[in-house]
Every structure is written in C-alpha cells, then in structure tokens.
Amino acid sequence: MTSVVASADRPAANAVPQQAKIAIEGVTKEFATETGGTFLALTEVNCAVADREFVSLVGPSGCGKTTLLEIVAGLQTPTRGRVLMDGEEIEGPGPDHVVIFQQYALFPWRTVAANVEFPMEVAGVGRAERRERALENLKMVGLDGFADHHIWQLSGGMQQRTALARGIACAPKVMLMDEPFSGADAITREILQDLLARLRTETRQTIIFVTHSVDEAIRLSDRILVMGTRPGRIVSTFDVTDDLRAHGDRVTELRDAIWSVLRKEIVPIIAEDDRRT
C-alpha cells in the first residue's frame, strides 16, 4: 500500500482522482465561544487517504478527532480549507461517505433488517430488492436470523454489527468510523475488530477510523495519524504493515513510539489544567 503524502501547497487542480480517495486540505475549524471569542479546534490539517487505505486517527480526548471526521462526513463545515473525495469537494453528508457512530444510532422503531434497508429506501430501491440486499449485508456481519428482531432485543455488540451492515448497505466510497467499538467490552471489541478486518478484505473498503486505543489502531490500520491538541492538528504519521504485525517486538516498538508522541501531547494539557485549578 502506498501512502500518499499530503501537502497544503499542492494546488487543487493537481488533485488527481485516482491519487487520493480523500484529500483533506488545510482544514481549520473555529468554534464561537460563549464569551464572544473563537476556539481553535483544528488548525491546518492536511492529509490524503488512498483508495482502499485504512487510516486511523488517534489522539487525546478533545483534540478534534470527531470534529475532523464530521467535517469529512459533511456534517460540519470547515472554517477554512476543504475536503475532496475523488477530487470533488464534499458539500454535505451522503451515503458514499457514510459514518458509523459510537452509539450505533439505530432507529428504535425499525427492525434490524428495516434499519439496514434505510439507506436503500431513501435512495428509492424497490422493496423486494432492498430486503434481499439487507439480508445479504446482515449475513456478512454474522446476523443472519436476526433480521426481524427489534433493536432493543440485541446486545450492544449486535447493535454495532447492525450499524455496520447498514453502513455497508450504502456501498460507500469511504467509511468514516468514530470510535465504533469503544462502547463494547473487551471480548466483544476483539470480535468486532476481527469482523471489521474481514469485512475490509471482502469489500476492499477505504476507511477512516477514529479510536482512543493505540492497540486497536495498530491491529487494523495501514497508517496511523497521531493528533495533538490545543490546537488540534496532526503531529505524526506511522505506517503499519502485516509484516510488522507479525513481529511482536516491532509491534511493541511501534506502540512505544506512538505513546511517546502522545505523552508529549498529554503532559502539557495536564500541566495547563493543573495551573487552572
């Protein structure tokens, strides 16, 4: 997997579609504060995600991971900069860059299958076809036989599988995932990680994955972007390969390297908070 090096000064016209699936160019996000000032949540974020690449974002809480992901999703607009998908600017949310949320966000009034059918339904796919495709998608996540269950009858892990199946049903160009497994217990989490890894090989999906867990990031990604805070930005990039994953010592080395970057980002926050209190 070749990782594309992003730079802010690359003119937009050169953003050749085949090169980057997602190009984040100079994204800055400011929020208005209650006191009338502005809070800089993200500054000058540049990054390119190649087709079929699995990129993880890790970073301390509050560094802007969700904000960045929602900007890519089109749910928020950047104050400056832009995000391109296949060379075209993302202008709003849509099924080709669907988001999988931490809290599943399933519709409680719909059955499992009806939840998976939702994106096809709003896209105008006929009843029989979308049912058939929903069943296929449910099979992919190991939920065959649960199609007509109600959401509240499912465990948390099964709910997240349903959300995954619903995301796949969008046949997205890129799947954006915001800490999708952090609500799950350790065992469920492992199972869901395996499932995602398998789905990814099956669907050859491009994925941007936000996580708090360095181990999870190492396990799943091709590339890990470590974000720093105050203001939120990307501070380091690490490549991960299957070869590396096969060697326990190299994994430990990588984990230590990531943690040493993270520690540098966390310590100033703690010091600053201490000064405040």
Partner: protein
C-alpha cells in the same frame, strides 16, 4: 390519568441482555409481604382499595348516616346502572357522548399531529407561532363554551368544538416538543445515510415524536372527557353529563349515582384502550 406507564426506561447499555432489559424490580410494600402470585392474587390486591371505598360508601348509606335524598348506596346505584343497560335507556346518552367526544378527539388528532410536526420541525415556524399558541392554550375550554354556543348554536357542533379545543393543546404541544427533541444522533445518522429533508420529516421526526404525541393524546382524551361532561351539563339535551345533572334536577338520586358510575367506567375503559393502543403502536417506547 388513571394509570401511569410503569415500564422502566433502560438506556442502550452495551452488553445489555434480553433478560436484563425485561427484568423488573419488585419491592414489597412492607417486610414479610409476599408478592401476589397468579391472576387471582393480582386481581385481589389491585381491587382491594376500591372494594374498601365501596364498602364504606355502602355502610354510610345503609346506616342512614347521610340522608337517602343525598346519597344512595352503591348496591342500589349498581343495580340501577345495570337496568340502564338492560332497558337500553343508557344507549342514546352513551352514543351521543361517544359521538361528540370521538369526533372532537379525532379532529384534535387530525389537526394537532400534522400541525405539531410542522411547527416542531421548521424552526422559524415554532419561533413565529409559539406566542400565539402560548396565549390560546391559556384560555380554559369552558370559558370558550359561550363563544362556541354563540357561533355554532346549541347542539353537537359546539360540543364537538369544545372537545376539540380541550384536546388540541396537549396533543399539539406534545407533538411540537417531540418533533423538536429528536435525537441529534439519529438525525446525523439519517443524513449520512442519504436522507433528505422530506425523509427526515417522515422517517425520523414523525416516528421520534410518536411516543410524546401519544402521551399528548392520552392527556387530551382525559381533558376532552372532563370538558365534555361539563359541557353536556350546560348546553345539551342528551349525553352522560346531561343525564347526571338531569337526574339530580328530578330527584332521581340512585339514577344520578348510577350515571356517575357508568361515567367512571367509561373513563376507565377509555384510558385502558389508549394505553393498549400505545403499546401496540409504540413497542419501542422506554426501551432506548
């Protein structure tokens, strides 16, 4: 309301199992108390207080602690109530109360739900209309009766109008708040799944608002019920409310109490039917 929904609200905890979600904690009212088992036990326990009230009423009336011209014993009232049914005398009154109440409530639902959804969904609407709604809802329905009588005359039309007025506000306001308080996460999810504004309205806001709307309907129905009885006493020549008051005018005291009992039964049936409808229509309520 006569009975509140006792189901527990459970969040979407991860790993929440089927059994956990369904389990209900039962605490004894005092130590040593055993949980009533079986249908018979449940019926016994829940009917004990009401039975005591009837017993007290019976004793007070039978011992003539209160004059018979004021209070009839419940046994007499009940047997008169039964005769009301066997003779068929009650049906015209029940029928007209049901007709007025039913049409009024149906109209309130037909107006309140779509209007409430639109007002709640479109922010500029709710900002523009909320002062008007706040003002109108403050007008007590019975204060509006003279106005309705003036415009619509004595008869079914003004009775329906007052029921509509009473039931509309809780339905409308609950629907507005339901449509305004849609879970943002669901809206975000729907948008990333490709839902447009029309889909958000019909496939997210509408079902999201349904539980609160249903509470509004139950509230509206009980207001409508109260107001209808009062209105029938003032400006009608049939209906249960009319029957109660008329029996009092002509000193048919047992008949008056019989009519009151029938009214109470009517209210109970109404409430339980609405609870049942709610359960069928909104099975996900209170289950995250």
């Amino acid at each position: 309301m006569l009975q509140t929904d006792g189901r527990q609200t459970t969040g979407m905890h991860v790993g929440q199992t089927l059994d956990k979600a369904r389990s209900r904690v039962w605490r004894p009212p005092f130590p040593g108390w055993k949980k009533p088992s079986g249908l018979l036990g449940v019926v016994l326990v829940s009917s004990l207080p009401i039975f005591s009230v009837f017993l007290l009423w019976e004793v007070v009336a039978q011992l003539n602690w209160v004059s018979a011209s004021l209070l009839a014993p419940p046994s007499t009232a009940l047997s008169v109530a039964v005769t009301y049914f066997t003779s068929g005398e009650i049906f015209p009154h029940l029928g007209s109360s049901l007709e007025r109440g039913g049409i009024g409530l149906a109209l309130a639902i037909a107006v309140g739900i779509p209007l409430g959804l639109i007002i709640g969904f479109v922010k500029s609407f709710s900002r523009a209309l909320s002062p008007v709604i706040e003002f109108l809802r403050q007008l007590p329905p019975l204060a509006m009766l003279p106005v309705f009588l003036l415009f619509l005359g004595l008869g079914i039309r003004s009775q329906v109008a007052i029921v509509l007025w009473a039931a509309l506000w809780p339905i409308l306001l609950n629907t507005i708040s339901g449509a305004q308080n849609v879970d943002v996460r669901l809206v975000k999810a729907a948008r990333t799944l490709g839902a447009g504004r029309r889909h958000l309205f019909f496939k997210v806001a509408l079902p999201s608002a349904l539980p609160t709307t249903m509470t509004g309907i139950r509230l509206g129905a009980s207001y409508a019920f109260l107001v209808l009885v009062a209105a029938e006493m003032i400006g009608a020549d049939s209906g249960i409310g009319y029957l109660i008051l008329n029996n009092q005018y002509i000193f048919k005291i047992p008949e008056m109490y019989a009519a009151i009992l029938i009214l109470a039964g009517f209210g109970i049936v109404l409430n339980y039917s609405l609870l049942w409808i709610e359960k069928v229509l909104i099975p996900w309520k209170g289950r995250g």
